[in-house]
Amino acid sequence: MVPTSYYLILSAMIFAIGAVGVLVRRNALIILMCVEMMLNSVNLTLIALSRQWGNLNGQVFVFMIMAVAAAEVAVGLAILIANTRHRESINIDEIHLLKW
């Protein structure tokens, strides 16, 4: 059996890649994808820990995160579209009517 720590290290790496992606990429869609990657790395963590502890709390949590992530994408893409109606770009550096 693969030790739990392997899964935890892998998911920590995926989470870190996602977080760095959010910070360095300028395209709002890519940022959204990076956030999804972070959420999925959390899912991997939860499933590994759920097997480790032998209870189902972690797996239930994963289903909730999947549902939330789907809702988040639906809302997020709608917001991006509403925003694109005002300007032809989804580059977040060009979105600065309000000071960051």
Binding site: L8, F15, G18, A19, V22, A28, I31, L32, V35, M38, L39, S41, V42, T45, L46, L49, Q52, W53, N55, N57, G58, V60, F61, M64, I65, V68, A71, E72, V75, G76, A78, I79, L80, A82, N83, R85, H86, R87, I92, I95, L97, L98, K99, W100
Partner: protein, 480 residues
């Protein structure tokens, strides 16, 4: 699992069920309505839902403390926080009545989203399980992302919505990763059980400490602590002002209530470590918030940075990890809900049509033309700067008292110094209202709901200040 187990103590989540039912009712009513005239009924239906949820909360108050499925609890602290959130939602609905028809025709989904966001917030204030906590957080966050971009024709509003969404989703993933690692350290998602387990065997430190740190980041974003506050001024400024009012009071109350519960039920054994982390964050938050607020010209940005600074004061109460501190935090949130919503209501009256914000010079000369409005704004500004005998003074007093009695005197001193700095930018608004000449005649916008909420918030700010003991008796802290 049988039906009896599922319905046992179902009354604990009665306010949430009422809110959900009314949210669906609002959507249905919006679909069935014949013409624009009938859409005036939607805010009244929303208010009815909020009042019904308040009645349900009051009804639960008289019953013994109970927990539904170990996921939500109805203790005094949760019920107090729920009440504050419902008050904020009610006031925001009053503010939206005359505001919405100007910015966007479709209104049904707006009020449904307000009710759903309220549901998420009250749920978060009573959650005792990490899974419920996360779900509640996302329910109100998703609703607020949409609400802050509700003025779709205005690029600032959609921009605020997008910034809020991207940073909010980013922060949520930190929060949920922290929750996952805490589950890994303790093997359960129930806060009390986590606390019991960690008190006896301390868990796996490689999972526990990163977990706590990530949770702090997630909560820090939601309550806008420095350095996770970057979204606050932009979103507060770009969102429709009633939404800003709702967001500032409601989100803060929900997130702080959950924050207190996680710290005191799941992590009491680690108080020494998180106490210091919170103390550092509190000093940073108060100082940066107040110093940045000093040089804001826009009223909404000023109130946004003031909201950051206020999050710092509330955090001071959390540092010692005492029951007294949690009660002080809740009392502060109650006073903050009234004075901040009131201040934003005045901003609404000063806004130009089609604009989402008002500069400070719009308030110039207000006292000559509209003395009552200027008086109300003075009450809110004096209360926010903590001058007795208004509500804000006692909020700060109890918070700093809790810090001193918990052995954090230096932190209370930093807080008092900060509140002296903050007086400068609050009083500047009053100076403009009373001593400056108006550059252009301002015709304040007004409607029944706006006047009503201004009167209610101003009265509450004065009454809480005159009789603070009435209110401290009805709120209760958490554990000990």
């Amino acid at each position: 699992m049988n039906i009896a187990a599922l319905t046992a103590n179902l009354h604990v989540i009665l306010p949430e069920m009422v809110l959900a039912a009314f949210a669906l009712l609002v959507i249905l009513a919006d679909m069935l309505r014949q013409d624009e005239e009938e859409s005036r009924l939607l805010p009244l239906l929303t208010l009815a839902g909020i009042l019904a949820a308040m009645a349900a909360t009051a009804w639960i108050w008289n019953r013994p403390v109970a927990s539904y499925q170990e996921g939500a609890i109805a203790d005094g602290f949760a019920l107090g926080a729920r009440t504050v959130i419902l008050v904020a939602a009610g006031l925001a609905t009053l503010l939206s009545m005359g505001y919405l028809p100007r910015i966007n025709r479709q209104m049904g989904e707006y009020y449904a989203l307000v009710l759903l966001a309220t549901l998420g917030m009250t749920m978060m204030a009573s959650a005792t399980d990490l899974i419920v906590l996360f779900l509640a957080l996302e329910i109100f966050s998703l609703a607020l992302y949409i609400l802050s971009g509700y003025y779709r024709k205005n690029p600032r509003s959609t921009e605020a919505s997008m910034k809020y969404f991207l940073l909010g989703a980013f922060a949520s993933s930190f929060f949920v990763y922290g929750a996952a690692l805490l589950y890994g350290a303790a093997g359960t998602t129930q806060l009390r059980e986590i606390g019991n387990l960690l008190a006896s065997d301390h868990g796996n430190p490689n999972l526990l400490w990163p977990g706590i740190a990530l949770l702090l980041v997630g909560f820090g974003f939601k309550v806008s602590l420095v350095p996770f506050h970057m979204w606050t001024p932009d979103v507060y400024q770009g969102a429709p002002t009633p939404v800003t009012a709702f967001m500032s009071a409601g989100t803060k109350t929900a997130a702080f209530a959950a924050f207190v519960r996680v710290l005191m039920e799941a992590l009491p054994a680690q108080q020494i470590q998180w106490g210091w982390a919170l103390a550092v964050l509190a000093v940073l938050t108060m100082t940066v918030g107040n110093l940045t607020a000093l040089r804001q010209l826009s009223l909404k940005r000023m109130l946004a940075y003031s909201s950051v600074a206020n999050a710092g004061y509330i955090l001071v109460a959390l540092v010692p990890g005492t029951a007294q501190g949690s009660k002080a935090a809740l009392f502060y949130l109650l006073t903050y809900a009234f004075m901040n919503v009131g201040a934003l209501a005045v901003v609404i009256t000063l806004e130009k049509i089609d604009e989402l914000d008002a500069l400070q010079n719009r308030a110039a000369g207000l006292a000559d033309r509209w003395p009552l409005l200027a008086l109300a704004m003075s009450i809110f500004m004096l209360s926010l700067s903590g001058i007795p005998p208004l509500a804000g003074f006692f909020g700060k007093f109890f918070v700093f008292q809790a810090a001193v009695e918990g052995g954090w005197t230096w932190l209370a001193v930093v807080g008092v110094l900060n509140s002296a700095i903050s007086a400068y930018y609050y009083l500047r608004v009053m100076v403009a209202m009373y001593f400056h000449e108006a550059e252009e005649p301002v015709q304040p916008r007004r409607w029944g709901g706006l006047s009503l909420s201004l009167a209610l918030t101003a009265l509450a700010t004065v009454i809480i200040g005159l009789y603070p003991s009435l209110w401290t008796g009805f709120l209760s802290g958490l554990g000990g």
